[in-house]
Symmetry: C2
Subunit: 324 residues, 2 copies
């Protein structure tokens, strides 16, 4: 049995060996560049882990897992254009290092390469693997569009938000696990329960991210806290705070977010005071715990040994406990 760390290392080694040195260079250089920026390689490692949980040889899931990582990096590449992000993993983003046209087209090519690798799955499960992957790809696009819409939408409900993060973040974790399980010859029910485990855990993960943005230890988190507050991002905390607050507190919260609040440090302090007062962290932790428990209940239903589940349990626990 492999640990998740083993599998992350296997993926890292294999990504390093990927080298698209075809022509034209302007198309393939950015692909190699973004794939070499690093990252935890969680999604493909989870794909291998799920394969290993059943009767699968992880070797059979390796190419599809690499396809998933290529797809994930494609979404980062295109999202960075849309968000006008200057930095990705400490380096210049592709659309700045080259230009937006190169970033669009390299991304398109990565999407085709992702399909190429995913479609190296064993023939017996190819159609099912394709169908999970393709559905996931479409849903990730839907999630990104909702995320962009929410920037200007006046009314975003908590359930709209939860659906957005499900699509944008959770389904790819879920799909990675399901694809691995299918290649590992899991039956449909077990594969689906692993999917639901991943989906719920993915939502918990994103909610934790929202929480850490406001509440983390800056040194451990590796970035300034309060970034979402300054940019008026409609996170779970933001939406929940408006739900919980009333009277003057609500007005005050609205003032912080509606106007052009000049001093970001003062804004963070002010908003966090309100967050503390209405205990939005407690409400968020409660929601995280709901999703976490739901995830575990689906994992519980999967027919494999407890030993085989231990790595996923450990992983889920780490995501929940992390303070960075």
């Amino acid at each position: 049995m492999f640990t998740l760390e083993n599998l992350q290392q296997i993926i890292k080694d294999n990504i390093e060996e990927l080298n698209f040195n075809q022509s034209p260079k302007e198309l393939y250089d950015p692909i190699n560049y973004i794939l070499d920026l690093g990252g935890k390689r969680l999604r493909p490692a989870l794909c291998l882990l799920a394969c290993d949980m059943f009767d699968g040889e992880i070797q059979q899931a390796l190419n599809p897992a690499l396809g998933i990582e290529i797809f994930h990096n494609f979404t980062l590449l295109h999202d960075d254009i849309m968000d006008e992000a200057p930095i990705r993993r400490g380096k210049q983003t592709v659309h700045l290092k080259w230009n937006p046209n190169v970033a669009i087209l390299s991304g398109d090519t990565m999407m085709a390469l992702a399909y190429e690798y995913v479609m190296k799955a064993p023939k017996e499960v190819l159609q099912e693997v394709f169908s999970v992957f393709n559905q996931t790809a479409i849903e990730v696009c839907e999630g990104q569009q909702y995320d962009m819409n929410f920037e200007t939408d006046k009314k975003v409900s908590i359930s709209d938000y939860l659906n957005m993060i499900r699509l944008k973040t959770a389904v790819l974790l879920a799909g990675s696990l399901k694809i691995g399980a299918l290649i590992g010859k899991a039956n449909k029910k077990d594969a689906e329960n692993l999917y639901l485990f991943g989906e719920n855990l993915g939502i918990a993960f994103q909610l934790k991210d929202d929480l850490l943005d406001a509440y983390s230890d800056e040194e451990k988190f590796g970035k300034k806290t309060g970034g979402d507050i300054v940019t008026n991002k409609k996170t779970f905390l933001y939406l929940k705070a408006f739900e919980l607050a009333d009277g003057k507190t609500k007005e005050s919260l609205a003032d912080y977010f509606n106007g052009d609040f000049a001093d970001p440090v003062q804004k963070i302090i002010g908003v966090k005071e309100i967050f503390q007062k209405i205990e939005v962290d407690i409400a968020t932790n409660k929601e995280i715990d709901n999703y976490y428990q739901r995830a575990l209940s689906y994992l519980d239903k999967v027919n494999t040994t407890q030993d085989k589940k231990s790595e996923l349990l450990k992983f889920a626990d780490q995501l929940k406990q992390r303070d960075y």
Copy 2:
């Protein structure tokens, strides 16, 4: 047996029935919009025609054919962003009607939808169909990148140019025919010969387009002639003219293309005088004829009745004879 026109109509009817009315609207509205802009639907019709040339039921090729048309429109959508094109088929382009981010993301979604439809091919040929389609998708991206590179590249050879139009234009025609043939249960050799027919015909088609841009009857062609001359586009005519011209003529040609030539009408007249003098139209027609003849030689090798080939022969002939 179906005529190409029959099949184009079948595709038109089926595209009209496609209606992606999922949420979010901002993602799916542009997809419906670009698919409803019309067009000749040649690629998917050729896919059905190729299927019909063997023992295929065109119904089995219908979804993959629609996938090819969705893919083709995805490339138009993303190309229009890159080229900053304001108009597509007489209507506002997606990145202007909505915005570039919507255009990027709707395009990404169309690519996934294209795979979804292509992968509805019959199970027996699924892996081969996928492999042709995916290779084609990657090559079309490569072609677009070369095309962008050539805008600023100082040295572009005629063979570079022919390779670019092969990738950007011809392989999708070729792939459409091959996919149809595979679904029609053609053997590999026949499918490959149809591919090569399409590839060579596609190159001839693009060369004819280059020629018509400078030499067509404006009323029939539906746009002003000389557009490529004004924008210094390195077409076959441009590259061939520099190859054929020498001495003062070459200098004069270089002057037209290097400087900021103020009056476009004068520039078109001047360049066309040189084109006439060195008979670049004759050289281009010779090249078109080479590719056309090569295309026919591959069609000739395909094992099916002459009757079954007649529609493709008619189609090839029309492409060659067209003066608009």
